[in-house]
């Protein structure tokens, strides 16, 4: 039976398909069997009609960078016994919803429910080691309501560095191509390029200072690794460019490294992730300052670069990163419970709780820098909303951040509570820009979908997935508006009805379309002879790959 959904008379915001002046115009939206259609097929009658007269209609939200499904995320869940004990989610028999726990790193079912309850229907798990890909697929299978893909950690893989050291770029590309295909990844993640591998080899090589430092006593440098990853994305025609966590995260003066990273790719496409953590200047006393002025100027001029902000939210968070030397540094600074786990000479991941407080100068600066970046960059299509969940805070804080972006008064109220040095020197107070609903629709759905290369997401044009969020039309109270959608629809199915989650559906796995590479397979098989398990146990089997949605570049 054909399932026809009719959304009637809502103010529709669909920036991917409409110019600014046409956004917010009232119209009807139709979906047939989980896909958007331009008009109702002849003879078809809606099986359900939702009255959106007092509502705003947007595509379902797309989280461009989060950590929700991996062995590392699970480690964080396990380490947060008290937090999970205080945030339990009972089973809801009437809606057939499973139980779970946790707020910062919720259990899988709860993750899917909470994203849907916020109007998000797609997410990108941002850091998975090659050997950990199977666990990520298992966890994503248990995460309802979200179509999800993941990024594969590639830039510190021992064999990639060895190939590059020998000057065999072709071989390195083929090797990575095979890993990406076999694991069902959506794209390439570059974390502290070369820095993790250097530290793996020699504990005294804790931080690479420039893009031309040697990696693990080889001829390889962060610059060469960045260029290799850009080449991988281009030659495989991946839907998403290299997703780069720059070197020197969190260190004073690191904006220079970020600007150098942009230059290093010489005009090629790239996505800089959680850029707030890479946007710090340094004064002559060595203290942190905001580096947003330089960075915004560069981002405004460099149209091939996109980024997500990694906004910090005051309160508890959980650091969870493939940047193991950084995690060790954080542990030394804070002494909180921590773990770093290394995986098969491919990558590592560290976890540690953190609390951002407005009493701290650095944390206040981080909050301010994130806001300055979102407001100071002119093109919302390329500066996207994220908290790097749960690193900067939970994804549940998105309504709070959106409210502060839409309302200067709310921003000023938060700034007034920040550390006095930040209050005094922050450029934030001079930003008068307030996000429009169109801006919000771009930074939370249309922009992420475009940057990730998900053509069937983030818009309401014919052929798009019928992932739709309907909010009460109340932009004067954006926190309330974005905290509790009126309806959330996933693939044409109504999940949230009257503000309450009443249904869950299985999400789909999103994997890049990659042609099998015989050379890459041969290189990988040869390399894997020294591994701790047989190559046949690596990644996904063909029938599993076929169950993923193939995303073309």
């Amino acid at each position: 039976m054909t399932d026809v959904l009719h959304i009637k008379n809502g103010r529709v915001f669909d920036p991917a398909n409409t110019p600014p002046e046409a956004d917010g115009v009232r119209r009807d939206v139709y979906a047939v069997d989980g896909k958007i259609v331009g008009k109702l097929p002849e003879g078809a009658r809606p099986t359900r009609t939702l009255d959106a007269t007092a509502c705003v209609v947007m595509p379902g939200g797309v989280d461009v960078h989060c950590h929700i499904a991996s062995s590392t995320v699970n480690r964080a869940r396990a380490m947060q016994g008290e937090e999970h004990a205080s945030h339990i989610h009972p089973r809801k028999l009437e809606h057939n919803l499973r139980s779970g726990s946790g707020m910062l790193t919720p259990s899988t079912f709860v993750t899917g429910y909470r994203y849907a309850a916020l109007g998000y229907t797609t997410a990108l798990e941002a850091a998975v080691s090659p050997s950990g890909a199977r666990q990520t697929h298992l966890e994503l299978d248990d995460t309802p309501n979200l179509d999800a893909g993941f990024l594969l950690l590639c830039a510190n893989h021992q064999h990639v560095i060895e190939r590059l050291d020998k000057g065999d770029q072709e071989g390195a590309v083929a090797f990575i191509s095979h890993m990406l295909r076999k694991t069902g990844a959506l794209g390439v993640k570059v974390v502290n390029p070369g820095g993790v591998a250097s530290w793996r080899r020699d504990a005294t090589h804790h931080t690479l200072q420039t893009l031309d430092d040697q990696v693990a006593s080889s001829s390889v440098t962060p610059r060469k690794l960045l260029q290799l990853m850009a080449r991988v994305c281009e030659s495989l025609n991946l839907p998403h460019p290299p997703h780069v966590h720059c070197n020197r995260l969190g260190l004073p003066g690191n904006v220079a490294t970020t600007l150098e990273t942009i230059k290093a790719l010489e005009g090629r496409r790239m996505h800089l992730t959680h850029i707030q953590f890479h946007a710090y200047g340094q004064n002559n006393k060595g203290d942190f300052t905001s580096g947003t002025a330089q960075l915004c100027d560069t981002l405004n001029a460099q149209h091939h670069v996109s980024c997500d902000v990694g906004q910090v939210v005051f309160g508890d968070a959980f650091t969870l990163t493939g940047d193991t030397p950084l995690e060790h540094l954080l542990w030394k600074l804070t002494g909180r419970r921590y773990a770093n786990v290394e995986s098969e000479l491919e990558a590592g991941c560290g976890v540690m709780p953190i609390t951002y407080t407005d009493k701290s100068f650095l944390h206040s600066l981080q909050w301010s820098v994130g806001m300055e970046l979102m407001l100071g960059c002119h093109d919302p299509w390329r500066v996207l909303l994220s908290t790097d969940h749960p690193n900067g805070g939970s994804f549940l804080a998105y309504p709070t951040i959106i409210a502060q972006l839409m309302n200067k008064t709310l921003r000023d109220e938060q700034l007034a509570k920040a550390h006095t040095r930040v209050q005094k020197h922050s450029a934030l107070k001079d930003h008068t820009r307030e996000f429009t609903l169109r801006d919000v629709a771009i930074v939370t759905r249309a922009g992420p979908a475009r940057v990730l290369g998900l053509r069937h997401k983030g818009h309401l044009g014919p052929g798009a997935d019928a992932d739709i969020t309907i909010y009460h039309d109340n932009p004067s109270d954006p926190l309330a508006m974005f905290s509790t959608p009126r309806y959330v629809i996933k693939a044409g199915q109504v999940l949230v009805d009257d503000g309450e989650l009443r249904h869950a559906v299985k999400g789909q796995r999103l994997a890049a379309t990659i042609t099998p590479d015989e050379k890459g397979e041969a290189l990988f098989t040869e390399y894997f002879r020294g591994g701790s398990y047989d190559v046949s146990q690596f990644g996904l089997h063909e029938h599993e790959l076929k169950s993923c949605v193939s995303v073309k570049g």
Binding site: I88, R91, R98, S99, S101, S107, G530, Y533, S536
Partner: protein, 358 residues
């Protein structure tokens, strides 16, 4: 309902990989469905499955606190069904081995590297090695690949002595000359000792890369998978058990296990129970005991003492997964597209659907 196909013999590579997880006896599928292969006993007498399910419903109906225990023999697929079942009957989950230490609940990271990382170390420091490496396949694999080995005792005094030495002088022997060191802890290493080795490793990281790897118990099987699946599905690390009685998962008291508290009035052993499993809690068994798993349960004999027993002949290979002790996920077959599904997972799904309270 799935029909088994005749499984081919598992490859040497598969057997080699799975030898690091547990002891598998290849068993050729017979072409029957799981329902045709299942056998059930009530009070030691053979009955039809439907009769056994009625008995199970009755036992659950009169139980205030049912608990699914064991679990480590289950595949990931069967574990998912077990969690769903425990949740649906507001029961408890108590994985084996039972770890009653408060430290265990607070220190869920038992190793900081996968096996491949240990293989790549310059030096392996064996803590408390007393011959177990000859019997244990994981320890044997490490010993075969190690470049250099050092041996220290498995007591608090030794590790505290090492901390005093290395924290003052990271260049001291046997660590100092090396770039990458693996500390290998024995099965069942005391939590206080293990946590001190972890603390030392963390402190040394700025001088020498040190990882800590713990050899699993010889019968641990999918114990890592149990910890991972239960944690991601519930958010609760299950060292001391998970309690669904309030409608949502909660960690059981970290002071005592559910079984020690005698809080359980219906014990459902899920997965092939081991001798150690039976001895893993103190005191008398609760009122009723049910076993659900593979035959032979004990020494080739059916479990005649149980109030209810529902079993399936062991089957391997199957299209199901387990985890190696370091978290690497392994298929229990060469080709999951053609291997039969895990019959125990199907049985558990059926039992959950039949007995779920509404």
């Amino acid at each position: 309902m799935n029909t088994f196909v005749n499984a081919t013999h598992p490859s040497d590579a598969l057997m080699r990989d799975l030898s690091l997880v547990g002891d598998y006896v290849p068993c050729r599928a017979t072409g029957a469905t799981w329902r045709e292969r299942v056998s059930a006993r009530v009070g030691g007498k053979s009955v039809e499955l439907e009769r056994a399910v009625e008995k199970l419903k009755d036992l659950l109906k009169h139980s205030r606190a049912p608990a699914m225990v064991g679990l480590h023999m289950l595949s990931i697929e069967a574990l998912r069904e077990t969690v769903r079942w425990a949740e649906s009957v507001s029961g408890r989950l108590q994985p084996w081995p039972v770890i009653a230490s408060p430290l265990a609940q607070r220190r869920p990271v038992t190793m900081t590297a996968t096996l491949g990382e240990v293989f790549a170390s310059d030096l392996v420091i064996w803590v408390g090695r007393e011959g177990y490496e000859e019997d244990h396949p994981v320890a044997r694999a490490i010993a075969e690949k190690q470049l250099l080995a050092a041996f220290v005792g498995c007591d608090a005094q030794t590790v505290l002595g090492c901390r005093a030495t290395f924290e003052n002088d990271p260049t001291a022997e046997p660590v100092g000359r090396h770039r990458r060191v693996a500390v290998v802890l024995p099965p069942g290493c005391e939590e206080t000792v293990a946590s001190q080795w972890h603390a030392l490793a963390a402190r040394l990281q700025q001088f020498v890369r040190v990882c800590v790897f713990q050899i699993p118990g010889i019968n641990a099987m999918n114990a890592r998978g149990v910890a991972e699946v239960l944690t991601w599905q519930t958010g609760v690390y299950p060292a001391t058990g998970i309690d669904f009685s309030g409608g949502a998962p909660r960690a059981c008291s970290d002071a005592q296990t559910l079984l020690d508290l005698h809080a359980i009035d219906l014990l459902i052993e899920v997965g092939k129970p081991t001798e150690q499993g039976h001895r893993s809690w103190a005191g008398p068994l609760p009122g009723a005991r049910v076993t659900i798993g593979h035959t032979p349960a004990h020494d080739g004999k059916d479990d005649l003492d149980a109030a209810l027993s529902i079993t399936l002949p062991g089957l391997f290979p199957v299209a199901a997964r387990m985890m190696r002790c370091d978290g690497v996920v392994l298929w229990l077959c060469d080709d999951p597209a053609t291997a039969p599904p895990d019959p125990l997972a199907e049985l558990l799904r059926y039992l959950c659907d039949q007995t779920a309270t509404t």
